[in-house]
């Protein structure tokens, strides 16, 4: 025992890395919550260095407008990730939404939008019921409900790509497509949607409850709140936002197809995570997702500016993602990293 211990050197003692000896949070820890937007600005500047036109207001405006459907979907996804679950059905719901919008446009006009939103709410709520009441993990329940939405989309479309009549589209949704003072209405609509989501999250009992569920579900139960209802609501809202994303995309493309929104899911999840809302929930939120979506947009278009060769784009994306997540997530909020 003595020998053993003799070989062991005393180690220099340090306080816990997260806080100084005086107990306050260290500088980096306090800076953490600013990291998402710092990452965004750095990325913008980095790409701007290769071509200053990238930073022109017009280009940034375009970049923001292009990402609108993804942003709307990611905002919905945020609410679900905020309660510590995940929604893998968003893309399929958006797919279904493009089909439903297109086929109901002749009969319902603007009403087709309402129909689609209702359908999104319904499918989201089904995910919620299956998760909260049947206790099927959301990873599975939403994947499964997504499959159902996909079937509905395929069936309703007759497995065809459909296009909207130009006049009907203009009549019903022309207002989304225009611009005012150079700002596309799509962007304004999207920001309004983000604002609504922000309001729900920060100013309404539902949002407060979502946060509490993500932060400490047992506390919410022990506070006498009907957790299941709120969970279902979060999923329903996510489904609704996904449907709106599909609706806006469908109007932009003036058509629908059961595969039209393919490729939305992973970027949307990535946008939420990169923005700094971890899968454990309770932290982050829609403003983070706004930043996260922009980061995704910048990284995507940076490939063009940095001349990343075709076969290297996936690697580039993956590596940038790791760096972005490593800098944006707030580890002090994660007790155990699993």
């Amino acid at each position: 025992m003595v020998q053993l211990s003799a070989r062991r050197k005393a180690f220099p003692l340090r306080p816990h890395p997260a806080h100084g000896l005086n107990g306050g949070l260290t500088y980096t820890e306090r800076m953490r919550r600013h990291f998402p937007w710092i990452t965004l600005v750095s990325a913008l500047l980095l790409v701007g260095m290769t071509d200053i036109n990238f930073l022109s207001p017009e280009n940034l405006l375009n970049l923001a407008t292009d990402i609108v459907p993804l942003l709307v979907m990611a905002v919905g996804m945020t609410l679900v990730i905020y309660i510590g679950s995940i929604d893998l059905s968003s893309q399929s719901i958006a797919n279904m939404a493009t089909v439903l919008t297109t086929i109901s446009l002749p009969a319902l006009g603007v009403g087709s939008g309402l129909l689609v939103i209702a359908a999104g709410l319904l499918f989201g709520a089904i995910s919620g019921v299956v998760t909260a009441r049947l206790k099927v993990p959301s990873f599975i329940s939403t994947l499964a409900v997504g499959g159902i939405a996909l079937s509905v989309g395929q069936f309703a479309s007759g497995q065809q790509a459909l296009h909207m009549d130009a006049e009907q589209r203009k009549h019903a949704f022309g207002w989304i497509m225009g611009t005012t003072a150079g700002i596309p209405h799509e962007l304004i609509v999207a920001l309004a949607i983000v604002a609504v989501a922000w309001f729900i999250q920060n100013r309404m009992t539902a949002g407060r409850t979502f946060k509490a569920i993500g932060a400490a579900e047992p506390v919410v139960v022990a506070s006498g709140i009907r957790v299941e209802r709120y969970k279902i609501l979060a999923f329903a809202l996510s489904g609704m936002f996904a449907a709106i994303a599909g609706l806006m995309f469908s109007v932009r493309l003036s058509g629908g197809s059961p595969t039209l929104a393919e490729g939305f899911l992973l970027p949307a999840i990535v946008a939420v995570l990169v923005g700094g809302t971890p899968l454990t929930g309770g932290v982050g939120g829609v403003t983070n997702t706004l930043i996260g979506t922009m980061i995704v947009a910048v990284v995507r278009s940076s490939m063009l500016y940095l001349n990343i060769p075709a076969t290297g784009q996936q690697i580039f994306f993956g590596l940038v993602l790791i760096v972005a997540i490593a800098t944006t997530i707030d580890r002090s909020k994660l007790r155990i990293v699993k």
Binding site: S254, G255, S257, L260, G263
Partner: protein, 338 residues
């Protein structure tokens, strides 16, 4: 809505050439890219001057990437694109026109969208009439089956245009063969693994009743062949589509009866060339007749008889094409069904 109607403007001196396509994991798109690269080399540029926009099957990414390209290079762009989903073609074309750049598209376009509605900027659209060739392969198949017995069809992603047409051709051929029993059709999404699983399911369902397989693409045929090989079935008549190198190889060996070569190498080159030469002012698209704006690409039936010759000519080497000879390989103006 006629945009830029014939107003003469300074032609681009040295436009950036870009190809926007689905992915790099599929031999078909690799051939397209090889054609694009061959064209770029013919201009004395390096292959890295061809900008690759890979959309991973996401219309959203397709559109965003193209818009990023346009905002970086403005009107100095000659774009060749497969818009991935039919509805996506319109916003792509509109964005290009707005920027004053030039685009030629292949495959996916809604019927109500025409190059001549966009003046010079929407240079051309090429697609392949798959109905006829698909009918031809089906006839070959039915003949090989001796005009009787059960047949199954494995289709692509059901809402994709080629999938629809290839199924239609197959069904047309059936009419002339009353003793052929059409057992089942199922989408296998252009995917080898999925086709493999679907085929083994068919084997269980229909067993020995299956006497022939009609595949909507080569990639799916590979999966079918392997599913059959697993059962020790080596001589089932199979036909496929696309004329990929591996499939042509299999045709020479008699493993596949016939495939249809759509000459993606040429298509990749000529589509880029059309956009490029329109951009440089080498020709004025709006001065061309309609059959030069919307036309069918070449299809060559490759059967066991001519496979070897075909292989040496088109697969082992690529013929040198004159990239200014735009239309000689085309198969006439696109006809719409309704």
């Amino acid at each position: 809505a006629t945009l830029g109607s014939g107003v003469a403007r300074a032609a681009a001196q040295n436009p950036k050439i870009a190809w926007s396509y689905r992915d790099r994991t599929n031999p078909y798109w690799n051939s397209i890219v090889s054609g694009g690269e061959a064209f770029v080399r013919s201009l004395g540029k390096s292959t890295s001057d061809l900008i690759n926009l890979i959309n991973e099957g996401s219309s959203e990414k397709s559109l965003s990437d193209i818009k990023s390209l346009l905002s970086r290079y403005g009107s100095e762009v000659a774009l060749a694109a497969d818009p991935n989903d039919m509805p996506n073609c319109r916003p792509v074309v509109e964005a290009v026109s707005r920027a004053g750049a030039y685009v030629s598209t292949i495959w996916n376009k809604t019927d109500d969208l025409h190059p001549w509605d966009f003046g010079d900027n929407y240079v051309s659209h090429m697609t392949w009439s798959d109905v006829g060739p698909s009918e031809q392969t089906a006839r070959l198949l039915f003949d090989a089956m001796g005009g009787k017995g059960g047949v199954v069809h494995l289709g692509g992603i059901a809402s994709n245009n080629p999938a629809i047409e290839r199924l239609e051709g197959f069904k047309n051929a059936l009419k002339a063969y009353p003793n052929i029993e059409f057992l089942a059709v199922q989408a296998a999404d252009w995917d080898t693994q999925k086709a493999n699983q679907v085929m083994s399911g068919f084997l269980t369902r229909y067993g020995d009743a299956i006497k022939g397989v009609h595949c909507a693409s080569d990639t799916m045929a590979y999966g079918v062949i392997e599913a059959l090989r697993a059962e020790g079935i080596e001589d089932m008549p199979i036909v496929s589509y696309d004329g990929n190198p591996q499939a042509v190889e299999l045709v020479t060996k008699g493993k596949i009866l016939a495939t249809v070569f759509t000459n993606p190498h040429w298509a990749g080159g000529i589509t880029a060339a059309l956009a490029y030469y329109a951009a440089t002012g080498f020709f004025k698209p709006s001065a061309e007749p309609k059959e030069h704006r919307e036309f069918y690409g070449p299809t060559t039936l490759v059967t066991t008889k001519d496979a070897q010759v075909f292989k040496t000519k088109y697969i082992d080497t690529n013929p040198t094409y004159d990239w200014k000879d735009f239309w000689s390989l085309g198969k006439g103006q696109i006809k719409y069904r309704s």
